[in-house]
Subunit: 123 residues, 4 copies
């Protein structure tokens, strides 16, 4: 998944605002589901972030084109841990391990089969 950096993404320091890389990773995760026809409507269930660890290796700038990749590193009954990487011209500039929980009606629940299949397809 490619991301172009626009003005909205940058801050007065002239580089991409740090929490935006985490947004790009979410775009990439969502895109996998959206492009498989899974676009949540009722919002009573879905994945929520439980934990994340991120390393900032190099800054991106206005006009840059970044590439986000996503791979599951652990799949449990109700949780998935993913490894996501953002590259700029084939160099890794940001990497993150993120654990998401499947929540249904406010409770951590078993991941439905159709979603699990999509997660597994990311390997």
């Amino acid at each position: 998944m490619k991301i172009r950096i626009y003005y909205e993404d940058t801050d007065a320091g002239g580089i991409v605002y740090h929490s935006n890389y985490i947004k790009y990773c979410e775009r990439a995760r969502s895109e996998v589901f959206f492009s498989n026809g899974i676009i949540p409507q009722d919002m009573k269930s879905g994945f929520v972030v439980a934990h994340l660890e991120a390393d900032y290796l190099q800054a991106a700038k206005l006009g840059d084109i970044l590439e986000v990749s996503t791979h599951p590193i652990e799949i449990k009954k109700s949780y998935v841990t993913l490894y996501q990487e953002i590259k700029k011209e084939s160099k890794v500039i940001f990497k993150m391990k993120i654990k998401v929980a499947y929540v249904d009606n406010g409770k951590v629940s078993k991941i439905p089969k159709n979603l699990l299949k999509i997660v597994e397809s990311m390997i």
Copy 2:
């Protein structure tokens, strides 16, 4: 209502990103309702933006403290037009006329009395 400008508000041009002033105005409108105990829960109804006209007079920068004021200029059965102004050190740097419609279950509807009272209190 006072707004401090943080890194997230600025862009690589070193000034506040233009659409953010429109967000500050929404914060000010919402704050009037929130501070009156009106915090929407079900989201099936509420005000949505129909039209806006904005003038950008001067740019705000990192660390600035801005002040937003809000006044209704026309109150109709289902619509309210407000005038909002953003000042920096008592100088107007942004002004906007915004028309919002009250929508219930997807249809433009009569503004409920308790909300109308709050709108009228802004005069």
Copy 3:
């Protein structure tokens, strides 16, 4: 230019937050310059927003794919007024007239020829 709507674009009302449409229009304007090799580095000069008028016709939702188009309607020495439209499945859901000024070292200045050419190419 196509825009996919992600979680970050929506709000608790379940629809795209109103000021985001204005961001999408800026992405489209910037993309015209970026794809022509104009990516500002020093930030001492550039276009800044002077005035805008926007009509919100229909709301976009999570997962929607929108399309933004941009056309100049008036080109002056230091100002350009553009008409921008956002469509969802070929239906216009948002339209905006936006006037931008060319600013150099804090002063409204004559638009440089190479930028003017790009603006004219949008007709």
Copy 4:
């Protein structure tokens, strides 16, 4: 430092978008410097994020008032590691360990004395 949750902070899931908590923590860090009169102007130097680890314990909603606290846990020559916590009604809903590097002209550098003093004052 108190943060009110507005529409812009929430997403279609009805809760605060996950990367926004990281923005609130940045607001709190910046506020410590701003309120001490340190508002960067030239942007050639400053703190940049190197690493962060975040735990999401509970979700915040529209209208909530959150409180962010910040404490240094390790202060080195060029790096500072901070512990930040976000509370909602005195309950911790988010916590983060964040390591920032002081960068001058693109190179990791010794933290200037006046900034170090402010960091130490957060203990």
